[in-house]
């Protein structure tokens, strides 16, 4: 049996000689088989094209929503860009006084929290000692 390469290399004269050779028997249903094969190949090609070009129905709305979201986010980013802030106080001494007051408040609350935690610790130790009979 010839390979495809050998068939491709046949010239017109060879093809004519083979066609005229009546001793070569052509299968009876060859034409039908060839028709089915060609139809199957064209159907497969069509399905490949369909899969490539037709996206799921939710893709286009999602793409539109993503584009809109991008535009809104970009606009908001531009509009919400913080301006350069101005110092509240022009006098460093007044600014320092505010810092002192604020840090005093922060450290006061922190020390209160620590004191409460220590108190809770002492109480817990007392309760534990009592429970253990110490």
């Amino acid at each position: 049996m010839k390979s495809i390469r050998e068939i491709e290399d046949l010239g017109m004269e060879d093809l004519g000689r083979i066609a005229a050779d009546t001793s070569i028997q052509v299968p009876a249903d060859l034409e039908e088989d060839l028709r089915k094969t060609v139809a199957a190949l064209s159907l497969a090609e069509e399905e490949r094209e369909t899969r490539r070009s037709v996206a799921p129905s939710w893709v286009r709305p999602l793409a539109a929503a993503a584009s809109l979201g991008l535009l809104v986010a970009a606009g908001a980013a531009i509009l919400n860009t913080p301006e350069e802030l101005q110092d509240t106080y022009s006098d460093p001494a007044v600014a320092y006084a505010m810092l002192e007051e604020s840090f005093g408040k922060i450290s006061s609350k922190m020390s209160q929290g620590i004191a409460k935690a220590q108190e809770a610790g002492y109480e817990a130790r007392e309760i534990t000692n009592q429970a253990l009979g110490l």
């Binding site: 908001a76 980013a77 110092d87 460093p92 922190m110």
Partner: protein, 160 residues
């Protein structure tokens, strides 16, 4: 599909424009009616450092080592119910969005105080103080580099 993923990635990246910070919260509420706002810039910190007697001060607390490395101080205080609600939500978003850890929470007589810190190694790069009462809230955000031992000294001196 690749285009959709690329769009989604771009949208997510652009959402970082909404990222919360002490500065963005201050900018949002500093001009609101009924809000007391204070901002101290890095340049003002430098000027404070040049005040001759800042190291002695009136009390035992010496802030010079702390303020030397600060880059921003933001304070907001309000009694406006609408601003209290919005500001509280924005502070929660700031905490969740950043790398803040709850350092301390204390509740006393209806006042809840929370202190959050963002750390870099042993140092604090951002401190958020949020005090809320039913009719008043205070928000303080300090950005910069605060050494842990300096903050400990500050707390220790306040305890006495």
């Amino acid at each position: 599909m690749k285009k959709i993923i690329a769009f989604a990635a771009i949208v997510l990246m652009s959402l970082s424009a909404f990222a919360q910070s002490g500065k963005s919260i201050y900018t949002r509420y500093s001009d609101e009616k009924g809000v007391e706002a204070v901002y101290i810039s890095p340049n003002m910190f430098k000027l404070i450092g040049k005040i001759p007697d800042v190291n002695t001060g009136n009390g035992d607390v010496n802030l010079a080592p702390i303020i030397r490395n600060l880059s921003g101080f933001y304070l907001l205080s309000t009694s406006s119910p609408r601003v209290i609600s919005d500001l509280s939500q924005d502070v929660q978003k700031l905490i969740k969005a950043g790398k803040y850890e709850l350092m301390m929470e204390a509740k006393d007589d209806g006042e809840t105080v929370r202190i959050y810190t963002e750390n870099k190694g042993d140092d604090i790069v951002s401190l958020v103080f949020f005090s809320s009462e039913p009719d008043e809230v205070s928000f303080i955000c300090v950005d910069g580099l605060i050494k842990q031992e300096e903050l400990n000294i500050l707390i220790d001196k306040s305890t006495r």
